[in-house]
Symmetry: C2
């Protein structure tokens, strides 16, 4: 008997420790220690398994997933605008500037009201957990208090989180009613956020971390970018921003600095191995080499890019370049809070990047990149789990010893979301495909984060 | 009092009688007659409404949707391969020929077993109804009996359906274990199907109709195409096939006939105002003019096209050309049985058709068609409802007098699918966008087809 094991999980699990591959752990026993980390994975053919099962059952610490239920790692969503949750799905047919001016800025500005803020953030965190996301990287509003509140809510609800206060100080680029008071104040507020969130993190079970969060280069003064870069160097904190997202941003940054935003951000000290760069469809090979070299991360947001980037991010190329890539729902540039829907989109848009879109053009002039663009379903699953863990440098996203035990239990036999193959195609690959393509939130019954049950939809 | 009214529905409804527009019927009363058709829509400001409400309540024939619940027309899904349901979501990373040879043909061939067939078809029809689809156009397998069985199952479960037996007779193009015995036999079987399904239709509440269904030109001999064309002329039955779906099909047909498949099908008598042509991303302006002139319908399958067509169908152009267009889930070329997910995809891929995909190319050479490609969310909603009705020439898809009353009731206040805007953006347009983008099957609580309750998820 292992004295460290406080809970054990018996059932069949899917995970993807290696990019491009998945592993099916059929009737495996996963031992979890008192800190919520995986001690050991005891496979079906291990001669010890039967006696361990008996032992843990006797100790009443065994959780059995049951037949027709499968365990997946909790998802890692690395790009979410928390204050945009009330407008998820709205006005996506609008041009970006109207979407920002008429919708996003007025909405985000409401988060100085901490009561409103609490209502929205509690709801958002609950909805994300209910969809299997056990780790989330959030951009808060430009307000310090509500961003700290968000970190506390994640900690209270048991979701692992990275939380930033969005910095947007340039009076020429941001509305009067919603921006940082000054560059200096924005840096001070970010410093306060770092201390406060680290403080929350110390008493948090699954962990919360602060993130230095310039909105994107066009909304920030040189002074604030420099101040945040210095802060990053001093604190070693995570950094997140939007990078190479669209043509307008690309052109505006180039006009201002004579270089593109990856280099601008790098020169301000904001591109390093703790940096999460959202979107990046416009990232060139050369810029990608910089990211690979310093270890910067790309948050792939396949939905949002289709609406606001006028292009598809070349994820397969990024991976070949050795860049770390995770997936972000990008609420609310992407409409869906579900990583499942984003996994599906990551695959689908990679196919259009391969082929191009307009069949009236000959195949070789259709604007597609050809054969090497595909993101397979398993690649996308990896990005949403192990890849997200790798991106954040956190031990999450797989069922391996030493990793935090984050689990979503998928019931494949529900009346209205019955993921059956009628016994025809029933290989593990097929079962995983059905789960990833056809699951609805209803199929996700229990969610554990760091070994703790954070949601049980079967509880009455 | 209107003696014809046997049921009345009170609540708030969304529908889209006109392409590009939606109407919000807030607190409206919809009267339904004994045949399941809408007699009258009594709006909120109609002075008669209060007394009618009292009267119908007294008669115990009033259904009240309730607060936070909204009525949408049942969806019209105009392209579903019924026997492919067990492989929905599988092997979408495979090339088309492997997907057909290793998966689709072996699977479809199993439907000569009527017990297997019944199990799959009952499950499929239930799952589609549970997702709000009250009218569905099905392609059966190549077997006569199971296709008739499918029509009977739809009738029994109360779903309005069009059902075809797939014809694929060319020994050079189809596997020995799965094809029509001969061209003559395929025509005879189709004739039998027409009679049998019309027979079922006569005793069906919401209606079922037969469809002449050549799989697509490459799997059919000239003889069978001519035979089916003659049968279409004799019977006036619906016709469905795949048309202009991909480059391979396009080239193979051109080599065989010296013309493209719209013209081949037209010359065989298979393109008329009863024809449903699936996919069509390769349809030229000139071919589109033919479709507009004869009144042929396009089934837009936005998911499947992304996987198997190497292009996006230019729906906005088709609509400008005056072509009728509906949406098909295309199970299992598309993975999702949900028209909601297909509505979302119709919007999303139209944006990539606008812009192209590869940001390394200059904007004007990125392969996008520019500004006139967009399918708005409301356009897609129209296609999935009123457009589908128009496509089939059936009085369905809106809440207007004379239409069949097909309803899905959406509950926007569920624990895990709570479609709230927190009171911030709450216009009818925003409420509709949240329903269409964020609904899960769980939000759909009741489904009525032709005035009859066919599913109630609130029933214990």
């Amino acid at each position: 008997m292992n004295r460290e094991v406080v809970k054990a999980f018996y059932g069949s699990f899917f995970h993807a420790p290696v990019y491009g591959e998945f592993e099916f752990l059929e009737f495996a026993l996963i031992e979890v220690n008192d800190k919520g980390y995986i001690e050991r994975v005891v496979k079906r053919n291990d001669p010890e398994q039967p006696s361990l099962l008996r032992e843990y059952r006797d100790q009443n610490i065994l959780v059995e997933l049951g037949f027709d239920r499968y365990g997946l790692p909790g998802f890692v969503d690395i790009h979410v605008h928390a204050p945009q949750w009330p407008q998820a799905s709205l006005a996506l047919d609008e041009p970006l500037y109207l979407w920002l001016e008429q919708r996003t800025f007025p909405l985000e500005s409401k988060f100085k009201d901490l009561e409103f803020s609490r209502k929205v953030y509690e709801h958002l965190v609950e909805q994300l957990i209910a969809r299997g996301s056990t780790t989330t990287v959030y951009l808060g509003s430009a307000h310090l208090e509500s961003s700290i509140q968000l970190a506390q809510i994640c900690s209270d609800k048991g979701q692992r989180a990275l939380v930033g206060k969005t910095v947007m100080d340039d009076p020429n680029a941001n509305p009067d009613y919603y921006r940082d008071a000054s560059a200096a104040q924005a840096v001070v507020d970010t410093e306060t956020l770092i201390h406060e969130v680290e403080d929350i993190g110390r008493s948090s079970w699954a962990g919360v971390w602060p993130v230095i969060t310039p909105r994107f280069v066009p909304s920030c003064t040189d002074e604030v970018l420099k101040g945040l870069g210095d802060l990053a160097a001093e604190t070693g904190a995570y950094i997140q921003t939007h990078c190479n997202e669209g043509q307008w941003e690309h052109d505006v940054v180039y006009e201002r600095f004579g270089k593109t935003d990856p280099y601008v951000l790098y020169d301000f000290g904001l591109v390093n191995e703790r940096s999460i760069m959202a979107h990046c469809p416009y990232l060139t090979e050369e810029e990608g080499e910089l990211f690979a070299k310093v270890g910067a991360v790309i948050a792939h947001c396949p939905m949002a890019n289709s609406y606001f980037s006028s292009a598809v991010a070349p994820i397969a190329r990024f991976r070949r370049q050795g860049i770390r890539v995770g997936i972000g729902t990008d609420i609310s540039g992407g409409y869906s809070p579900s990583m499942y829907e984003n996994i599906r989109q990551a695959v689908l848009v990679s196919r259009l990047l391969e082929t191009g879109v307009d069949a009236m053009l000959p195949e070789d002039r259709r604007g597609g990149l050809g054969n090497n663009t595909r993101v397979s379903l398993v690649d996308a699953f990896w990005m949403a789990t192990a890849g997200g863990g790798e991106a954040l440098g956190l031990p999450v996203g797989t069922f391996e010893p030493g990793r935090a035990f984050d689990l979503q239990v998928i019931d494949t036999k529900l009346p209205d979301s019955n993921l059956t193959g009628f016994g025809v195609f029933n290989s593990p690959a097929d079962r995983l495909a059905r789960i990833l393509y056809l699951s609805t939130p209803e199929n996700i019954r229990q969610i554990y984060c760091q070994g703790k049950l954070v949601r049980d939809k079967d509880a009455t």
